[in-house]
Structure formats: structure tokens, C-alpha cells
């Protein structure tokens, strides 16, 4: 058996790649293929689809409404939800970057035992369920919550501020949920910087902010890009946070898709929406890849 393997390197390779290829094939390609099929089938109003009833109706529905006389009218409702998701994800990424970068920088500047403790602390939120953590934000942001309670108690405001069920609440919740994905990659790239370069910049008359902008930021770029991608992409498809903190007013793509599969019983449309999301993410990543390649060639 072993001797046979040794004589056939191709067989050897197949055996080594085989298990992971099977896992990816089974758990990724098959469901994805299934979803493609579902998105192209006719809708069964009791859930599921009418197999064999081929139609592209689900994709048309994304942008158009069918009038009674079968003409198409532009319907921006779903596009609006997509755009809102895009902007919310973008602002979440910016917020996470603004808060995450200083944290990562601070961690990098600490001495060894303390530094490891800080890395550990950053990952602590992962120890509890996402749902539980988002409920905590509900408790903080609601009208009778901690923030409004404190402000009312202090007499700063007369009526509770509308914090919960707003895009603001969703952005805060998302930034909080995905913060470790921003901090850790940035930390990893900051940690690799030779801090003698910082001294060199000071020596060459760069003040603290100029030093940060001209030396630390460019060298931390790979971490910033990785962190932003890791926050932006899952934000686009977020479900739990917008459901709890955004309510029905601040719906995101994830909630829309989930709704099509449950209450609306429109599986093909849900599947089609998921593919629009996938296309959006792939497009964003492609643009990013092209940009970094252009930069690598330029510099």
C-alpha cells in the first residue's frame, strides 16, 4: 500500500488534498449550488419552491415590481436596504478603525506580560454569545436604559433620547461586535514595526503626529486593510445586531434575507438577495485586490 503511494506522487497529492476538498465541496459548494437552484425556481407560497418551475422572477423582483398588467415598475425598496447596509457597514468600519487603531497602538507599546493580558482582554467578548452581548446594548440604549436613566437623573434631558432602534444603535452595536477583528490584525502589523524607525523619524525633525502619519500608518497598512475587510464584510451580512438594535426601521440585508425565508415564504427571492450580497462583497474585495496590486507595482 505505502509502496504504491510512494511510486505515484499524484495519488499521494490527491490523498492529502482529498479530505479538505471534500469538506469544502460538501459544506460550501453543495449548499451554494442548492441556493442557485432555489433562486431560479418558482415560489411555493407555503415555503420552499416548485422544483422544475424555472424562472428568473426572483432577480427581477430586486429592482422591479410587476404591475397588474404585467409591466415592470422600478421599486427602490430593496436597493435602499442594500445601500443602507453598505453605509452602515462602512461607518461601522470607520468607527471600529478610529477606536481600534489607538487600542492596537497602545497594546504594541506595552511591556510583555501586560501586553499578553491585553490581547486576552480584547478576545474576552468572544466568550459570550453574540445575542447576549447585543441584548446588553439594548439594556444600555433603551428609553429606560442606563444612558437615558443617568441623563434623566442628572437633569440633562427631559425626555429619553431615541437611542435604540436607530441606525446609530446598529452602527455602535456592530462596531462593538466586530472590534476584535479590527484590533488584532492592526496589532499584528504594528507589532512588526521596528520602533527604531520611530526614533529615526523624530531624529529627522518629524513631530509625533507627522511620525504617525508618515511612518507608522504606512507600515501598518496591511493590518488596517485586513482589519477593515474583516469588519466590513461580515457587517454587510449582519443579522443579530440590526434585528435587536435596529428594530424594523433599520433593516439590513441579513434581516431582509431571513424575512424572505420565514414570514414572507419567498425562498427564491431570499436566495437571489443572498447572491446580490455575495456579488457586492466579491466586487468590493476585487477592487481592493486590484488597488493593492497597483500600489505594489507603483512602489
Amino acid at each position: 500500500m505505502l509502496a504504491t503511494l510512494r511510486r505515484h506522487p499524484a495519488l499521494q497529492r490527491l490523498l492529502l488534498i482529498g479530505p479538505s476538498a471534500a469538506v469544502i465541496g460538501f459544506f460550501m459548494v453543495v449548499p451554494l449550488g442548492l441556493m442557485v437552484a432555489v433562486s431560479l425556481m418558482g415560489r411555493n407560497i407555503y415555503g420552499g419552491v416548485h422544483w422544475g418551475d424555472f424562472t428568473t422572477e426572483a432577480y427581477v423582483k430586486f429592482l422591479f415590481e410587476r404591475n397588474l398588467d404585467d409591466t415592470l415598475a422600478f421599486n427602490p425598496v430593496y436597493l435602499q436596504i442594500f445601500l443602507r447596509s453598505f453605509w452602515l457597514s462602512l461607518s461601522t468600519t470607520v468607527v471600529a478603525l478610529l477606536f481600534g487603531f489607538p487600542v492596537a497602538l497602545y497594546m504594541t507599546l506595552q511591556r510583555e506580560p501586560y501586553r499578553t493580558v491585553l490581547i486576552f482582554l480584547v478576545t474576552v467578548p468572544f466568550w459570550t454569545n453574540l445575542l447576549v452581548r447585543n441584548y446588553a446594548w439594548v439594556l444600555l440604549l433603551r428609553d429606560t436604559g442606563l444612558i437615558n436613566g443617568a441623563l434623566l437623573g442628572l437633569g440633562v434631558i427631559d425626555h429619553p433620547l431615541p437611542l435604540l432602534y436607530t441606525p446609530f444603535a446598529v452602527a455602535i452595536g456592530l462596531a462593538y461586535s466586530f472590534m476584535p477583528f479590527m484590533v488584532l490584525p492592526i496589532y499584528a502589523s504594528l507589532e512588526k514595526i521596528d520602533f527604531r524607525l520611530v526614533e529615526a523619524a523624530y531624529d529627522l525633525y518629524a513631530g509625533r503626529l507627522t511620525m504617525l502619519r508618515r511612518v507608522v500608518l504606512p507600515l501598518a497598512r496591511p493590518g488596517i486593510v485586513a482589519g477593515s475587510t474583516l469588519v466590513f464584510v461580515p457587517c454587510l451580512g449582519a443579522y443579530v445586531t440590526p434585528a435587536l438594535l435596529g428594530g424594523s426601521k433599520t433593516m439590513m440585508i441579513g434581516n431582509l434575507v431571513a424575512g424572505r425565508f420565514s414570514e414572507a415564504r419567498d425562498w427564491p427571492f431570499g436566495a437571489a438577495l443572498a447572491f446580490f450580497l455575495l456579488a457586492m462583497v466579491l466586487l468590493a474585495m476585487l477592487l481592493q485586490a486590484l488597488r493593492s496590486r497597483r500600489q505594489a507595482e507603483a512602489g
Binding site: A200, Y202, D203, L204, L219
Partner: protein
Amino acid sequence: MAVSAVEAQGVTKVFGSGAGEVRALDEVDVAIRQNEFFTLLGPSGCGKTTLLRLIAGFEQPTSGEILLEGQPIAGTPPFRRPVNTVFQSYALFPHMSVAQNVGFGMEMLGKDRRTIAETVERTLDLVKLGGLAGRKPAQLSGGQQQRVALARALANRPKVLLLDEPLSALDLKLRKEMQIELKRLQGETGITFVFVTHDQEEALTMSDRIAVMSAGRILQVGSPTEIYEKPTRRFVADFIGETNFLAAEVVAGEAGSLRVRLPGGRELSVLDAFEHKPGQTVTLAVRPERAELAEGGAEAQLAGRVENLVYFGTDTTYHVGLEAGGGFVVRLQNREGARRRHEVGASVGIRLPAEAVQVLRD
């Protein structure tokens, strides 16, 4: 008298506290003159790099004061000091081209583009790197990176250029080249160089003056000749070149001149700069090449037997076991061809010319 380029007055630097306290510099006083090539020489951990970092502003002295052209600079951050550093690791910005690296300081000072471009070009020519302006540091050899680091610091025309063991990462041949190059650049630019090294040969060949440091103190400051020929302390004599040490007893002395009794009982008159008194024991330092060998004879001050000899081509080193105990090394030039003057086992006398003997302070 002209004002010193850099002056340290009673500078002490303590790192850590309590039991982990390290006294890197201990009451250091030194004045570095304008336009000189000044070297801080000492073994690792002697405080030389700390002193350099205090001048650059990366560290603040625990006590004492540092003056730059007569002005105290305590509290002035490094980016406001008219000094530049060539780092041991070069610390070139990896994401910038050679030209951007060299122009960085001038850009920070707000010089206009044309001035920067011209100065960058001129400075790169000065360090013989013309034509490499567009490269990234990673595309350069170690020697070239070294030159970029040098150009980056020189381009700003600092009042003082600080060099932290800049040649230690280069191989021997390149190091020799750069030693000459640095000396040339210092002469051409007229900038005060403060050079840190643990390499005594580097210090001797390049410096106008050397400060020998040990354990956070400056032991002696002087020209290379003074440091080599007239060391005042055992550490200095030992650290630079080879030295024989002899313990001798002062039998008589007055006004800079001593009569000392050597091991073995012979007496010798020597010059003394430190007012030793009769009855004291002094340490004498004698360079191997300054002593002479005699076939026994009355004028010899020490007697012994050749235990070993090493032929070096240009000279031969004789290891002599002294009758009074201890060893003594004599190096003779091989002027008369390959003929050995003394064989292993031969009884010899060692003559010490009075001017070859240096009485040490401690």
C-alpha cells in the same frame, strides 16, 4: 576659546529603580569641540550609546545637563534638536525610496521641493550612491544601506552628527573602506562627528580625540596618540592595544619624577603625572614594542627566560617569564631578516627606556 559643540556636565542616567537600578552614566563631564571627529570608545554596556541617545534627545538625563553649542537642551524633543543620528541598524524607512529617505528630514523642516531634490542628489553623490535614488532600502546591500543612512543624516547639515556603531554590521573590507570614507566626509562637511564604537582600531584610525569609557564613566579623553602612548588608567591601557603591567614601589619622588623599585629589585627613574609618594605601590604600563631585549647584561631592568615566541612576519613576539614572577611580552621588529635573536629557553634581560614607561593613576 570657542564654544563646545556638545558639552555634558555631571550627566547621570539611571535606568529602572530599586534593586533593578542600572547606573548607565555616572557624573559624566565631557566637552566635544566644534568640527572634530570625537569617538566614544568602550566595551558594550559602558554607557557610550546612552550618552549618544541623551545628546540626540531619545533619553533624558536623570541629573546633570547637556549643552549644545552652549545652550542647555533639557526638555527639547529630538525633532527640535539640530543633531542627526546614524543608527546602528540604519533604521531606513522601508516604505520610502532612497531619495525619499534622504529628503525626509528636509521635508520635515519645510524646505521647498527643488532644494530637497538638489540636496538629495548632491548628498547621494557625496556618499557615492548616485543613480540609486529610486530604489527601496530592501533592494540595497548592507554597505549601500549604510551609505543611505549616512546621507539621510548628513543631508540636513546638522550641527552634530551622531553615529552609533554604524560600521559594526559591515564585513571587514567594507568597514575599512567606510572608515576612510567617514573621515573624508567629516573633513569635507566640517560637521562635528560623535562616533560610538567598541572597536579600538576604528577609534584610533578615525578620531581627532577619543573618550575611553567604562562602567558609565569617562576614564580618559585625548588624541589617539595620547590614549595609546600615555594611558592614565589600567583599563585604558588594557583596552587599547597590548600592555605589560608591572607593580613597582616608589623609593623616592618629587615634582613629576619618581624613582621606583621594579620586581626583581632593580630601580628606574620615571615621569609621574599623579604625585605618588615614597612607599606607595604604583602600576607601570609598558607597550610590548617599546621594551627591548638584551642578552642579560647590566643595563637591563628585568631578567627572565624566553618561554614562547610567535613569528608574525613584520615582527616577533617574545613571551618572557620573569625571574621575579609573572610574564612580560616584548615585540621586536624583524629588521634583520629571518634571524631569530633569542631562542626559547634563553635567558634574557628586558630594557625599559624611561620614556616607554607610563605610571598609571590607579
